[in-house]
Amino acid sequence: MNLVTPDGGLLFWMTLIFLLLFFILAKFGFPIITGMVDKRNRHIDESLRLASEAEERMQNLAREQAELLEKTRAEQTGILREAARTRENIISQAKSEAAAQAAKMLEKAKTEIAAEKESALRDIRKEVAMIAVDVAEKVLRDKLSTQEAQSGYVGRLVDEYTQKHRS
């Protein structure tokens, strides 16, 4: 039948035109389009890769920053704790030192007081002795105001002395 028998003229023209079309488009048409689109796709891929790398770097940076912050905070608390401890130490040390000082001063005061007391007692004793001597002198002067009293006293003293030496 007419429909399924290929017509020679059309075959000829079709071959000629299709091959011509193919050579024109294969040389000046499709490879340019596909080449450019491939180029763009590579560019997009590259850009995406760079973007993801940049993002990763950013994340690293952020993480580092956070780490640094964390570390600083830990250091800060450490320093604060240290400072508090030092303060406590200083205060307690000062307290104990003050206590020791006070004790020392008390001791010193005590010894001084004791020494004063001693010297005062000694003075008093000396005074008392002087007074006693004076009194004794006055008593003696009063007793020995007469000649007889005097010779009697001397005699008694000599007796006393000799008795003492004999014994």
Partner: protein, 337 residues
């Protein structure tokens, strides 16, 4: 634009109106006139006068050499320089001693003119979009206009080539693109019922045969050693060795035939279906106004549906042809393990 789709099938009827008025309406004649080739491009009739583009007849007779004249000289069975259009085959024949002898005929027929126009259109479309890429920096601008239209389709075929062919797909991608766009454009133009379109080009077996032959040659000229070894000395048990080459050669030959028939038959069937639906209107004319009116509505609705379906088929057939071609090429490029 919507109303246009309704009018398109009606425009298709214009050439038939005169005949319908005669009262004798030959469905098969109308259909074959539309899907077949002719030496003139018939547009429509005004009254009894037909408006047509007469195309040049170029023939080479064995006895009198080359002849070139307008087909208007052969109208209504007229004879010119010993040639007539045969009433049986519709082709130009030479009368030698009362015998009809078919000369070597490379006339610019309706299909050839449609082929030239669509090829020119395709070349312009592709070269314009290629020019866009040449003049713009693709890394800075998104394609616009014609380039934006062509790019997705070109890349679809390009990616198909990459998936099916592998490594050296770049060598074959232009052929597949050309075939795809050629089929797609002509399929669509075939659906358009008036002048620049309307020729049943991809529904013509000569056209699809050339396309399939191109694929066949591409497959078999660039086949690898491994491909030919698989055909002539495949790894099969010894008793199959003599049978396998026969089967393989047969399958290699059947591939282009199936490509030819698939595209040709699909497009032809679509055209015949739409034309038949339109013809219903003219057949129903003599059955009274009620039947005529209702059937007209039905056939316009069905015609619209078929037109939309054909738009889908136009794409699918172009896609299928290209995909099968790329798969066949891919098979011939295999390198073994």
């Amino acid at each position: 634009m919507k109303w246009l789709r309704f009018i398109l099938p009606l425009l298709l009827l214009l050439p038939m109106t005169a005949k319908a008025e005669d009262g004798e309406f030959e469905v098969s004649e109308v259909i074959f006139e539309h899907i077949g080739d002719s030496y003139e491009w018939h547009f429509f009739n005004i009254g009894e006068k037909s408006v047509a583009l007469h195309l040049p007849v170029i023939v080479r007779s064995k006895t009198s050499g080359w002849h070139c004249f307008s087909s208007s000289r052969l109208e209504h069975g007229a004879e010119h320089e010993g040639f007539i259009i045969s009433p049986q085959s519709g082709k130009v024949v030479e009368l030698i001693d009362g015998e009809q002898v078919r000369p070597f005929d490379i006339s610019i027929t309706k299909n050839v003119l449609a082929l030239m126009m669509s090829s020119l259109l395709l070349a312009v479309l592709v070269l314009l979009s290629a020019r866009w890429y040449r003049r713009h920096d693709v890394q800075k601008e998104a394609p616009q206009g014609i380039a934006a239209l062509m790019e997705p389709l070109v890349m679809m075929v390009h990616d198909m080539a990459r998936e099916n062919i592998g490594e050296d797909y770049r060598k074959y991608s232009p052929y597949l693109c050309t075939a795809f766009f050629f089929i797609l454009l002509n399929n669509f133009l075939g659906i358009v019922p008036f002048f620049p379109g309307g020729a049943n080009l991809t529904g013509n077996i000569a056209v699809t045969m050339v396309l399939a032959l191109c694929t066949f040659l591409t497959v078999n000229l660039f086949g690898t050693k491994h491909y030919y070894k698989d055909i002539f000395w495949p790894d099969v048990p010894a008793f199959l060795k003599p049978i396998m080459p026969v089967i393989e050669v047969f399958s290699a030959l059947v591939k282009p035939i199936s490509l030819t028939i698939r595209l040709f038959a699909n497009m032809l069937a679509g055209h015949i279906l739409i034309l038949s639906l339109v013809c219903i209107i003219f057949i129903m004319y003599k059955f009274g106004p009620v039947l005529f009116g209702s059937m007209t509505v039905i056939s316009v609705l069905f015609g619209l549906f078929m037109d939309l379906l054909e738009c889908l088929v136009a794409f699918i057939q172009a896609y299928v042809f290209t995909m099968l071609s790329s798969i066949y090429i891919g098979l011939s490029r295999e390198r073994g393990e």
